[in-house]
Symmetry: C2
Subunit: 200 residues, 2 copies
């Protein structure tokens, strides 16, 4: 994209400042990781004045949250593979890729969420939106008769996805993509084969 | 426990300094939460000189890690209730209680683990030890014929326990004890009813 095209699109200079700053955040994150990320370095790399960055994003956490939100496709919804297991595997592969990317914006925002309330609240909002959208794959499975109508969508999604976060973020150990797939299968099987009446 | 009794037990003054300091950490944590915890405040409350605390524990993270380790019973092993589901429910209730306690030492150490490498490594060691011990309940279930001999104990324990951590620590939403029980049942059912050959 040339400068002329960028300058003429909706949003104009403001949008361009944002994209330049966020590109700089991502590069700085890759080179220095979260602990080495500073607003001054982002200013130098983006060519945007530091006072502009402080005014708009306030903190490093604010920059990271905006990067997370900018990377989130507004039209995102879970892939429709035709089966509950396939849909859950697709979701788990996205989560696995996001957490094992180098740099991982998600891992950086998680770290930021333990330092500032602003980042914690933004991350909670982001995940609330994502889990809500992901529940679509549960409704589709109910319509296909793969799941009981009264299945608890959130508990099912936790069963599939939580092990990836726990292993990679909190336990701080590796997890292969095959293991992430495995947890999708476990969730599909556990909820599909159990009558809801068995579970509280 | 009276001072006389404390002073006469093995370890003597060193052990007493440790117990006084850790008791002060717990009280300060309850009153000010993790972000308000300082070595100076712990020194004032415990009556132990701050230079002694700095020499032995170095940082607030060091104090929290020691509190976590002191609270961990060296003889801990998972309760033997006679069934896989019962054993997993007991473990999940311990995790749920630890994460919803006010103050939660576990939550404070998790927050510290995103600030210092020392706390992150100590937490990983602590959980490695706990998950290794908890695997005993899987061996017992295999012996009883409830699980296939080649079951992946760690993946089973992740299925049961990870949803509690994910919901309470990362998603930052409530989870009831009944929901924690539910995830124990899901794990017991998913692994008991599936042949290992079905899963990667």
């Amino acid at each position: 994209m040339t400068d002329r095209v960028r300058a003429s699109r909706p949003g104009g200079r403001t949008a361009r400042v944002r994209s330049d700053v966020l590109a700089a955040v991502e590069t700085e994150l890759a080179e220095h990781e979260y602990d080495g990320l500073t607003i001054d370095a982002v200013a130098v790399r983006s060519g945007v004045h530091r006072t502009t960055i402080y005014r708009r994003w306030k903190t490093v956490a604010g920059l990271l949250v905006d990067l997370l939100e900018a990377g989130a496709d507004d039209a995102w919804e879970p892939a429709d593979t035709g089966s509950l297991e396939g849909d859950l595997i697709a979701v788990n592969r996205e989560i696995h890729a996001a957490l094992t990317a180098r740099p991982s914006v998600t891992q950086a925002v998680i770290a930021a969420s333990f330092r500032t309330t602003e980042a914690a609240e933004a991350l909670t909002r982001f995940w609330d939106d994502r889990y809500k959208r992901t529940a679509l794959l549960v409704s589709r499975a109910v319509e296909r008769g793969e799941l009981p109508a009264d299945v608890d969508a959130h508990q099912l999604l936790l069963t599939a996805t939580a092990p990836i976060y726990h292993q990679l973020v909190l336990l701080r150990h590796p997890m292969t993509r095959a293991q992430a797939d495995h947890h999708a299968r476990v969730a599909a099987k556990a909820f599909a084969t159990s009558r809801a009446a068995d579970l509280p």
